[in-house]
């Protein structure tokens, strides 16, 4: 399966964050920390986000998996998560 582009990964991750946080994509920034305002994911929400994206990586036959502990890393931002997910394809 061809590796998705950075833009595709970005769209997917932003969409999932929007879906799981209940905020429209214009209501949060790429610099926002997942666990802080305005997203306020708690550890259970971050685990669910990680498992959701892990399913996407498996579907796209990514080279590496995504760990819940990686997504729970303190201070992880929206853009940090996009980079993390994209790196799983290389």
């Amino acid at each position: 399966m061809p590796k998705p582009t950075k833009a595709e990964v970005t769209r997917y991750v932003l969409h999932q964050i929007s879906q799981l946080s209940g905020l429209a994509e214009i209501d949060f920034l790429r610099t926002d920390v997942l666990a802080k305002q305005p997203l306020y994911f708690d550890s259970i929400g971050l685990a669910n986000l990680a498992l959701t994206i892990r399913g996407y990586l498996q579907q796209k036959e990514a080279a590496k998996t995504l760990l819940v502990t990686e997504v729970r890393k303190p201070g992880l931002t929206v853009s940090g998560l996009i980079e993390l997910v994209y790196a799983k394809f290389s």
């Binding site: 209501d27 920034l29 259970i44 685990a47 502990t69």
Partner: protein, 315 residues
């Protein structure tokens, strides 16, 4: 309370500004603690969602005129997490932790140190409402009553991704997060290991609610900039951060006794109500008051009716 104690209190309160800045302005030590040492600090990690939002609390009082000196600390420290089932659709997380709960007041004296492992189980991703489980195995030493206890706990809970479902960051009409709650049902067993083989076990049901009644809305605005190619691009920027100033927490636990050789107290209830004020709107360090009523799980289930006031710290 003497004037120097008031000064100390205001010094402690004012000093939190060095902790409570936005991410970009936080001191280096704080970033090191979070990102390198991977340490989290809360009131407790006692078989509950570790982000339930109850901060650690420290309260010290010294009255030299009346020779009263006491310290109240409720502190839980969680270290780096370890993950199992890394390539599956489910996940298991192990969280080593230590906790210290001390109260040097005569009527409520306690000094408990415990260490153990929390376990979180996520069987699947949640589409609307799904299960998750958590448990713990802990060794606890009560230095006041000289009791050593081995504790095992396992709870089931649910997590949803729609407004007002458990675990979801429910938002008001202005899209500000103001409510989150978790229900738990499970089994607990306590084995006294220093004397004989005394066991108490319970079917335990618990509800935790976190409510933020006073918030301020973030303000977003669009900015258009001209690129190198002469094409305009529009970005969203935040004109003002959202803030949360007041946190109310409520927790009720009911333990239905199954076996009672150890504590011999029958069915037990435990209520914990908390009110925390975060003056600059960041829920990291503030001032809080807490009321506890019932059989205290962090003090061998002694019957308690306690008010406490202190600084609240959440890293």
């Amino acid at each position: 309370m003497k004037i120097q104690h008031l000064l100390l209190f205001f010094f402690l309160v004012s000093s939190y500004h060095c902790f409570a800045q936005d991410d970009l302005a936080r001191p280096k030590f704080y970033s090191w603690l979070e990102r390198k040492a991977k340490v989290s600090v809360r009131k407790s990690f006692d078989a509950s969602s570790k982000d339930e939002g109850k901060p650690a609390s420290f309260f010290w009082f010294n009255d030299k005129q009346n020779n009263i000196d006491y310290l109240v600390v409720d502190l839980g420290v969680k270290f780096s997490e370890f993950e199992l089932l890394r390539n599956k659709k489910s996940s298991i997380i192990l969280l080593p932790k230590v906790e210290w709960h001390t109260d040097k007041r005569d009527k409520t004296k306690k000094n408990n140190l415990s260490g153990g492992v929390n376990i979180e189980v996520f069987p699947m991703k949640t589409k609307v409402l799904g299960p998750w489980a958590l448990g713990s195995i802990d060794f606890e030493k009560d230095a006041v009553q000289d009791v050593s206890t081995l504790k095992g706990k396992f709870f089931l809970s649910v997590f949803g991704i729609k407004q007002f479902l458990p675990g979801y960051q429910t938002k008001n009409k202005r899209k500000e997060f103001f409510l989150r709650y978790y229900p738990y049902s499970g089994f607990e067993t306590f084995r006294r290991i220093d004397v004989g083989n005394l066991i108490s076990s319970y079917w335990t049901n618990r509800l935790f609610v976190e409510y933020w009644p006073i918030t301020s809305k973030q303000i977003m605005k669009s900015v258009t900039v001209k690129g190198h190619d002469g094409v305009d691009s529009t970005y969203s920027v935040r004109d003002r951060d959202g803030r949360r100033y007041l946190q109310i927490t409520a927790e009720y636990t009911f333990r239905k006794v199954l076996k009672d050789d150890f504590y011999k107290k029958g069915d037990m209830g435990w209520l914990a109500l908390g009110l925390n004020i975060y003056p600059d709107g960041i829920d990291r360090l503030g001032i809080g008051v807490e009321y506890n009523l019932g059989y205290n799980p962090s003090f061998n289930f002694e019957n308690a009716d306690i008010w406490s006031l202190g600084l609240k710290l959440k890293l």
